[in-house]
C-alpha cells in the first residue's frame, strides 16, 4: 500500500470532514458530557448513513472492501470533531478479529450486520492498566462466560462484545451478545465514550480464537484499533493546532496579536511538529497493515499521536488564557477526549514496552 493517498482516499478525507463539519454541534456535545451512557445519536446515524461502518469489511459481507487507510482518514475527521460513539474503532476491532479467525460461520453471522451498522460492538480486553492480562478475571467454562470487565469503552450501548478471557489457564477470545449481560454505565470525564462495567454471569458465547492463536489475534486487533485511534488523535491534535493559530492571530495584547510573541508562536510551531510527526507515523502504519513491522509501526503511531494530542490540548488551552478554561468555549471537549483516547487501546506505558520488546526481539 502506498504512503501517498490516491484520489479516492482524498475524497473520503474531504467528504467525511465536510459532513461532520456540517452536522456536529458543540452545544450538543457539551450537553452529552453531563449525561451518563447516552450515545451521540446524530454522529452515529451519520456514520452508518455514510457507510463508514462498512469501509473496512470485505465486499462479500456487504462491506466496501477498503482498509485501514480509509478508516483512518474517517477517524481523523471524527477526531477533529470530537465525535462521540466509539464504535468505528471497536467495530473494526471485532470485524478484524472475525476475519483473522478464519471462522466462516462467525464471519457470515456478524460481518454483514457490522457493515450495515445494525450491530455495534465493544472490545473488552483491558483490566485496569493491564491491556492483555495474563490471568484475566473473566473465565470461560462449558461455553459460558463469568466475571467482570471494568469500564469497557462503548459497552453502555453496544450490542456485542469481543472479550479477552481465559479458559482453563489458556487465553481465549470470545464473542458475547450483551442483551442479557449486566452493565453499569460509568460516569466518566468523557461520557460519550459510553464506558460501562460488564459483569458476565453464565453468558453464552461463541469462541473466536483460543490459546496462542488468541493471543496473537488479540495483539493484532489491538494494534489495528490503535492505528485507528492514532488517526483520531491526529485529527484532534490538528484541530487544536488550527484553533490555537486562529486565536493567536486575532487576540491582541500589548498592542499586537499574541501570535507575534515568540513564547506563543514557537509553542504553536511545536504543536505543528507533533501533529506532522504523528500524521506521518499514522500514514506509514496504515500502509503497513498486514505486513512485517506492522506492530512497530502501530506503536510508533500510537506513541506520537498520544503525545501530540495530550500536548496540544494542554498548550491550546494555555494559549487561550482564561477563555480557554470556560465550559462554553468547549476546548475541554478536546482535553477530555485526548485523555480518554490516550487510555483506550492501552496507554503509552503499554505501547512503549511493546515497542522496545519488538525492537529487542523479545515477545510482547
Amino acid at each position: 500500500m502506498s504512503m501517498l493517498y490516491d484520489e479516492g482516499q482524498q475524497a473520503i478525507a474531504t467528504e467525511s470532514r465536510r459532513v461532520l463539519d456540517a452536522r456536529m454541534a458543540k452545544e450538543r456535545l457539551l450537553a452529552l458530557l453531563d449525561q451518563v451512557g447516552v450515545i451521540d445519536r446524530p454522529f452515529w446515524d451519520t456514520a452508518v448513513e455514510q457507510g463508514w461502518t462498512a469501509l473496512a469489511i470485505p465486499e462479500a459481507f456487504g462491506g466496501l472492501g477498503l482498509g485501514l487507510v480509509e478508516l483512518g482518514l474517517v477517524a481523523q475527521a471524527a477526531g477533529a470533531a470530537t465525535s462521540g460513539a466509539p464504535f468505528l474503532t471497536s467495530g473494526y476491532g471485532l470485524s478484524s478479529a472475525l476475519i483473522g479467525s478464519g471462522n466462516a460461520a462467525l464471519q457470515q453471522a456478524w460481518l454483514p450486520r457490522l457493515a450495515s451498522g445494525e450491530v455495534t460492538a465493544a472490545v473488552a480486553f483491558a483490566e485496569g492498566n493491564t491491556v492483555l492480562p495474563a490471568q484475566p478475571a473473566v473465565t470461560l467454562s462449558g461455553g459460558k462466560l463469568n466475571g467482570g470487565k471494568p469500564a469497557v469503552v462503548g459497552a453502555a450501548s453496544a450490542d456485542v462484545a469481543l472479550v479477552w478471557a481465559s479458559a482453563g489457564g489458556q487465553p481465549v477470545l470470545a464473542l458475547a451478545e450483551l442483551a442479557g449481560v449486566e452493565r453499569r454505565a460509568v460516569s466518566s470525564y468523557d461520557n460519550t465514550r459510553l464506558h460501562a462495567d460488564l459483569t458476565f454471569r453464565d453468558t453464552p458465547v461463541q469462541v473466536v480464537a483460543e490459546g496462542a492463536a488468541a493471543h496473537a489475534l488479540a495483539l493484532d486487533v489491538l494494534a489495528r484499533m490503535a492505528v485507528v485511534t492514532a488517526h483520531e488523535q491526529v485529527g484532534g491534535a490538528e484541530a487544536l493546532l488550527h484553533i490555537a493559530r486562529d486565536y493567536a492571530v486575532t487576540r491582541k495584547a500589548f498592542g499586537q496579536p499574541i501570535g507575534a510573541f515568540q513564547s506563543i508562536k514557537h509553542r504553536i510551531a511545536e504543536m505543528y511538529g507533533l501533529v506532522e510527526i504523528a500524521r506521518a507515523n499514522c500514514i506509514h502504519a496504515a500502509a503497513s497493515e498486514g505486513q512485517p513491522g506492522f506492530l512497530i509501526a502501530a506503536a510508533d503511531a500510537r506513541i506520537s499521536a498520544t503525545e501530540a494530542y495530550d500536548t496540544n490540548a494542554r498548550d491550546c488551552m494555555q494559549i487561550h488564557g482564561g477563555i480557554g478554561v470556560t465550559w462554553e468555549l468547549g476546548l475541554h471537549l478536546h482535553m477530555r477526549r485526548a485523555r480518554s483516547l490516550a487510555a483506550e487501546q492501552g496507554s503509552l506505558l503499554f505501547w512503549e514496552d511493546l515497542l522496545v520488546n519488538q525492537l529487542t526481539g523479545e515477545a510482547a
Binding site: 502506498s2 504512503m3 501517498l4 493546532l241 493559530r245 493567536a248 492571530v249 499586537q256 496579536p257 501570535g259 507575534a260 515568540q262 506563543i264 508562536k265 514557537h266 504553536i268 510551531a269 511545536e270 505543528y272 511538529g273 506532522e276 510527526i277 504523528a278 506521518a280 507515523n281 500514514i283 506509514h284 512497530i296 509501526a297 506503536a299 510508533d300 503511531a301 506513541i303 506520537s304 503525545e307 505501547w351 512503549e352 514496552d353 515497542l355 522496545v356 525492537l359 529487542t360
Partner: protein, 401 residues
C-alpha cells in the same frame, strides 16, 4: 525495478568498491589534512564514475539527473562515512550560485569541473560577528574603486575557509538604504591580497570554521553575482537551493540501534539497563519520533517521484532530530557512568556518544538556529505574524548599533 532503484544499486556498488580505501574505518586515526587528501581523491573517482553533479545540467558538466537521484546517492553515501565533508557546502551552495549568476560560461565550466573533482573548494561567507540569524545586518562593505570594488570587513563561522580556493560573499554596497536593500553579492578568489583566514577552535576541539578578514581586497565588477543592491535576493536563492538534501532522523548523531545496544550491554541496579523503565521510555519515544521523520522523508521522496511538491513538514527534520540527538547522547553518557569520561575529539559522531554530545549544539545553531526554524514554521507555514522588528524601513546607517 524502478530506474531510481537501479541507480541506487549502482551507487551502492560504486561505494562498496571505494569503501576499503576511503570509508570510515579505513580513515580511523587520520589527521584532517590526510582526510582532505583522501577526500580529493575520492571526489575525483566519484566524478569519473558518473556520480558528480548528479542533478546538475550536462551543459555545465553535471549528470542531468533528478533531485531524487541525488538524494538517493547521498543517502547511500552517508552510510559509508566517505570523506566528503570538505565539499558539502562548496557543491551545495556557492557553485550552484556561480552557475546561475556568473556570465563567463567558460570560467564557470572550469570551476564546476574542478569543484566536482575536489581540486578546488568554495566557501560561503554570510555570517558576521554582528549578526548570524539576522543576515541583512551584515557590515562588510564594498566601495566603488575604479571600474571595480574595494572590500573591507570581516566574516565568521566560514566552514573550511582555510582550505578554500574561492568563495561567495554578501557585502554592503549602500548603507543609506534599508538594510536588506543595500547588499551586493560577489565571488572572490580566497588567495587575493588582503584576505586573511584564521581558524576558530570549536568546543568539540575541531577547527573547521574560520574568521575571514578583508583589508582593501580588490574585486572586479565581473565578480559581481546579481545586481548591485540585489545581494539579499541572491543570498535567499542560495539558501533555497539545498531543499533537496539527504536528511538524517538521528540528527547526524548515532543511530538509535547504537543506544539499544548500549542499554543491552550495561546494567542499572544489577539488571540490564534495557529493562529499566526510564531507558525503555526514552528508546520508545525516540523511535516514534525518528520513525515519523523517516516517514516524512519517504513521503516527500514519493511525492517528488510523482511530480508533486513535498509538504512543508520537511522543515521539521533538523529542528527535531538534532535536539533529540543531544538529549539521547546525554542519556547514553549517563548509562556509561565513569566509563563515559574517556573522550576522543576525533571519534566519529555517528558512533561515539561523547563527540555526538559535545558537537550537538553546533547542529542546533548552524544552518538556521532552532529559534529561527520555529519562526519560519510559525510565519511561513502557519501564517502567524512576524516578530516586532524596530529596524524595518529604517536606513541601515540610522539603525541604533
Amino acid at each position: 525495478m524502478s530506474e531510481i532503484e537501479t541507480f541506487r544499486q549502482n551507487a551502492r556498488a560504486f561505494l562498496e568498491k571505494m569503501a576499503p580505501k576511503y570509508g570510515r574505518d579505513a580513515r580511523a586515526g587520520n589527521t584532517v589534512e590526510q582526510d582532505l587528501a583522501l577526500g580529493r581523491e575520492y571526489m575525483a573517482a566519484r566524478y569519473d564514475a558518473g556520480f558528480g553533479g548528479i542533478n546538475w545540467s550536462p551543459e555545465v558538466g553535471g549528470q542531468g539527473l533528478s533531485n531524487m537521484h541525488k538524494i538517493a546517492f547521498d543517502a547511500e553515501e552517508m552510510q559509508f562515512g566517505m570523506p566528503v565533508q570538505f565539499f558539502g557546502i562548496s557543491l551545495g551552495m556557492p557553485v550552484p550560485i556561480l552557475i546561475h549568476y556568473c556570465q563567463d560560461k567558460a570560467f564557470v565550466k572550469e570551476r564546476v569541473r574542478k569543484a566536482l573533482r575536489g581540486e578546488e573548494i568554495w566557501c560561503q561567507m554570510f555570517s558576521e560577528p554582528s549578526g548570524g540569524s539576522d543576515l541583512a545586518a551584515l557590515r562588510t562593505r564594498v566601495e566603488p574603486d575604479g571600474n571595480g570594488w574595494k572590500m573591507n570587513g570581516q566574516k565568521i563561522w566560514t566552514s573550511w575557509a582555510q582550505y578554500c580556493d574561492y568563495g561567495v560573499i554578501v557585502t554592503r554596497s549602500d548603507p543609506t538604504v534599508e538594510k536588506h536593500k543595500g547588499l551586493t553579492y560577489f565571488w572572490i578568489d580566497m588567495k587575493s591580497p588582503g584576505v586573511e583566514v584564521r581558524p576558530i577552535k570549536l568546543a568539540g576541539g575541531d577547527s573547521h570554521v574560520n574568521e575571514v578578514f578583508f583589508d582593501d581586497v580588490r574585486l572586479e565588477d565581473e565578480q559581481r553575482l546579481g545586481a548591485v543592491g540585489g545581494g539579499f535576493g541572491v543570498a535567499l536563492h542560495t539558501l533555497m537551493i539545498e531543499r533537496y538534501i539527504a536528511t538524517d532522523s538521528a540528527g547526524f548523531g548515532p543511530h538509535l540501534d547504537e543506544f539499544v545496544k548500549l542499554a543491552q550491554e550495561v546494567e542499572i541496579n544489577g539488571k540490564p539497563a534495557i529493562e529499566d523503565g526510564r531507558i525503555r521510555s526514552a528508546i520508545a519515544r525516540n523511535h516514534a519520533m525518528r520513525a515519523g521523520l523517516d516517514s516524512i522523508t519517504k513521503r516527500a521522496f514519493l511525492m517528488m517521484q510523482a511530480g508533486m511538491q513535498p509538504g512543508p513538514e520537511g522543515s521539521l527534520q533538523k529542528l527535531v532530530a538534532v535536539r533529540s540527538r543531544q538529549k539521547l547522547s546525554e542519556l547514553a553518557m549517563d548509562l556509561k557512568g565513569n566509563e563515559g569520561f574517556a573522550f576522543d575529539p576525533h571519534a566519529f559522531v555517528k558512533t561515539d556518544w561523547g563527540t555526538s554530545w559535545l558537537n550537538a549544539p553546533t547542529g542546533r545553531i548552524a544552518g538556521g538556529s532552532d529559534e529561527v526554524l520555529l519562526n519560519t514554521i510559525a510565519e511561513k507555514v502557519l501564517g502567524l505574524p512576524q516578530d516586532h522588528r524596530p529596524d524595518k524601513g529604517v536606513p541601515f546607517n540610522q539603525i541604533p548599533a
